[in-house]
């Protein structure tokens, strides 16, 4: 689901369709939308697991404050997907615990 017509923000700007790679699978996304939006539109709700209990987490605040939606983006852990725009060819991986930083 994407919000294409917002009562206050108006219509979503036209954007190029691109492919990103999520846990190795290609996912269609719109360039410039937030990674979390693209994943939500693709039906992906689990973004990471917690470091102690390995419990699943996803979008919570959606405004870049809570860090619940962080994932490994292009090899960097702790990236807040709700405020990070999609770029073509991006690699996005589920972050397990504190993740892996190469």
């Amino acid at each position: 689901m994407r919000v294409l017509h917002h009562p206050i923000l108006g219509d979503a700007p036209a954007a190029r369709a691109v492919t990103i790679h999520v846990d190795g699978r290609p996912v269609q996304a719109l360039e410039g939308e937030m990674i979390a939006s693209a994943l939500t539109a693709a039906g992906i709700k689990r973004f990471r697991t917690t470091s102690r209990g390995r419990d699943p987490r996803g979008i919570f605040c959606a405004i870049g404050r809570c860090t619940d939606c962080v994932m490994e983006v292009n090899g960097r852990p702790n990236v807040r997907t709700c405020v990070t725009p999609v770029e073509a060819g991006m690699t996005v991986n589920t972050q397990v615990g504190l993740g892996v930083w190469k």
């Binding site: 470091s51 860090t67 960097r76 852990p77 702790n78 504190l98 993740g99 892996v100 930083w101």
Partner: protein
Amino acid sequence: MQKADVVVIGGGAVGTSAAYHLARRGRKVVLCEMRNIASGATGRCGGMVVHCYGRELNIEKTDLRLMYTRASTRIMREYQKSFEIDFELRQVGCLDIAIDEQEFEGLKELLRIQRSLGDTEIELLDKKQTLEVMPNLNPELIAGSRLRRSDGNLNPFKLARAQALEAQKLGAQIRTQTRVEKILLSGGEVQGVEVADGVIEAPHVVNAANGWAHQLTPGLETIPVRELAMVTERLPKLPPQPFEMLCLGDFAYGATQTASGNYNLGGPGPARPPGYDYYDERIYVDEVYRVMSYIAVIFPKLAEVSVIRSWVGTMAFTPDAMPSIGPMPGAKGLFIAAGYPDGMAWAAVSGKLAAEHICDGRTSLPIDHLDPGRFLGQPKVRWPQPYDLTVCHDFLTRERALKHAK
């Protein structure tokens, strides 16, 4: 009026160690802390345990420093067997990095001296080996390094709290939010201390107030230093060596990853203008930015991460960079344990020495060289000497400018 055998002033790692060791010896101890446990240098430092801080070329001092700090680590290992709180001591090693060939030659000389004293724990690493141990450092800034595997880090809050808790179990009273206004002396002998709500009578007082110690004991030379520290978001484990970089002399910028994954970063702030307030605990955004940008030059990977909290604290040095531990001349019953540039490596043994001196009249390790009266009658040390921060600042600014120019 309250009575005690010993009043300990200061609730940092050193004061709580003294309270614990005194309580263990059956003494009735009251610890007075003007704020809360670990509110001074202890709670504001990076938590690095460095057995031979600095690049002291004086053989005698190096030998002494190792004797005390090794004893301190042994005591902490003992703590770990019985203490309720785990203070996360991890001996992961620490790198002392030389940034150019000239500095590296100095490190080699230091290593030669330390080896001649029977110190076999240290290794000299060339550039390649240093980067193998810590691959994330800026290769352009490294000529070589010295690695001591017994160094490492701990959680300073937990160390102070652990010692305070064990002291309390043994009957010590910990009074927080209790500022000691004055150490009471009569006829050259300690009578106790004055606090806001009265007097605590005691024949022995331990002054472990570090950056504030000289305010209570005139003649004591402890020089306050204002240092910045930051903590990053939790990160995956990187190769675990913390590092200190003694940039062009005596300024250590350091980074160390804690048990929980956060990185503690720190170092001296910008060059100090005259009239600088070393007790100012407000933090300013520009100084955080500046220190962080220096560390990012040394450790480029950290340029990408978020700092979640930053703070400043008042540390304390003495003119010869060795702490003052021992009885204060002219004040019978007053024991000083203050002025630590590298307190986490000394705290445990300092409190033990205080307890031994008070209970037995002698100590298991010699403390003559740490005599708190050794600076009496000597000219006062004033900043920016001997630590001229502008040198350091200029250097790192230049490095940063070079990097940005590429």
